[in-house]
Symmetry: C2
Subunit: 217 residues, 2 copies
Amino acid sequence: MSQDKSNERIRDAERTIALLKKATVDQLITNGFAGLSILPILKKAGVSRGALFHHFPTKDHLIAAAFGDLLVEFAGQLHEIAMQLRTGAITQEEFVSKTGETIASDLFVGCMEIALGIRAELTLSALVQEAVADWRQSLFEFWDNTFELPGHDREQRSDHWAMASNVLRGYAFSTSFGAAPQARERLMRGFPKLFLDGAVVRPADERVVSIKTKSKS
Amino acid sequence: MSQDKSNERIRDAERTIALLKKATVDQLITNGFAGLSILPILKKAGVSRGALFHHFPTKDHLIAAAFGDLLVEFAGQLHEIAMQLRTGAITQEEFVSKTGETIASDLFVGCMEIALGIRAELTLSALVQEAVADWRQSLFEFWDNTFELPGHDREQRSDHWAMASNVLRGYAFSTSFGAAPQARERLMRGFPKLFLDGAVVRPADERVVSIKTKSKS
DNA sequence: ATATACATACAGACCGGTTGGTATGTAAAG
DNA sequence: CTTTACATACCAACCGGTCTGTATGTATAT
């Protein structure tokens, strides 16, 4: 990890913070929410305790920051997939496959774990509230900017894509067991039939989209 | 909790085990998976450390046992709702409402939390594997024994109900934030349209169903 | 019936290890 | 010299688990 055993110090706040958040995400993926202790995080980041608590008042603040980064990254990944479809770089089938893959990735499962885990932790849940709201919004935009639903008003579209999102969330959850090998095929067959049948892909230039969240206030 | 400060001991293994499992579920609901320490569990159960480790070799075994109980209880709740629909005691709309409520309850959210949380814990995930397999089976039976899907073969029915289950899981997940007040209405509108349109309720006497799991081997 | 022997059910002190967080010190930058 | 960035020693609280001891059962022998 860190071969700088010499006494030269690296003084770069941004870098240190990034390392810490990255290590937190790594730790979340490999050891789950319950495994989010600061010791392994510090080890992975190659950073000292002092550095951590210099930049973050508590462990929860670090987790919240890492969680926020995760969600933003996801929004970016989904946006990327959407653009590939809208530019014709991939087929609708590939779109469903890639989206499913993204949602069922360890990263997103880790997100769900945090989202459920913080239910009982008031301070932490308060810290991530804003990031979650942003994420919700960007998820709807992901669908609504990618597909047109002729004859549907805004309310109906919200309903439609909310259900679609629920399916993917449930899919991600069920795959985290790894016990349903047919789950993927079921998604590939079922999802387009249920949600994309009447939908029309919006050409890439139809609407200029900013998927970016409001970011650090 | 326990006012028996006298030196009279209650010697009832079944009772003690039940108290421990109950306390574990309670603790899971109120404090989440990360809050599953033995101390608060023991306190809630009014049982000593010695009693716990006499009946369960490790904490994980207790959690697994409590988790298994939870899943069986859920299967029972769903079965109950299904029977109400099949006997005509409730409407389809009420059926969707009740099912959604059950899935989005604190109890089930706790289940999801465990299911995700154990991802990184090998021993625990091994312990609950069987219970999860039983649960999967009973969930499919819940749908398939309740509704007929004319013109669908077994494979197609599996696809259909797997997607339906995913929607509910995703719904449960999203409500655990409490941030989407319209989520319930969306489910009530969207679910029947997507999954119950071509489905026919099986009369209660059409098929003798055993929703019971294989139970303790 | 009563005494003996043993298994089971429970209680609570105790253990080493880990937890999140702090206090203090030091090196670099302005 | 002051501020910022990082390092280290340290702390009280808590963790899961083991220990020894005790209360309560039951099976057998007398």
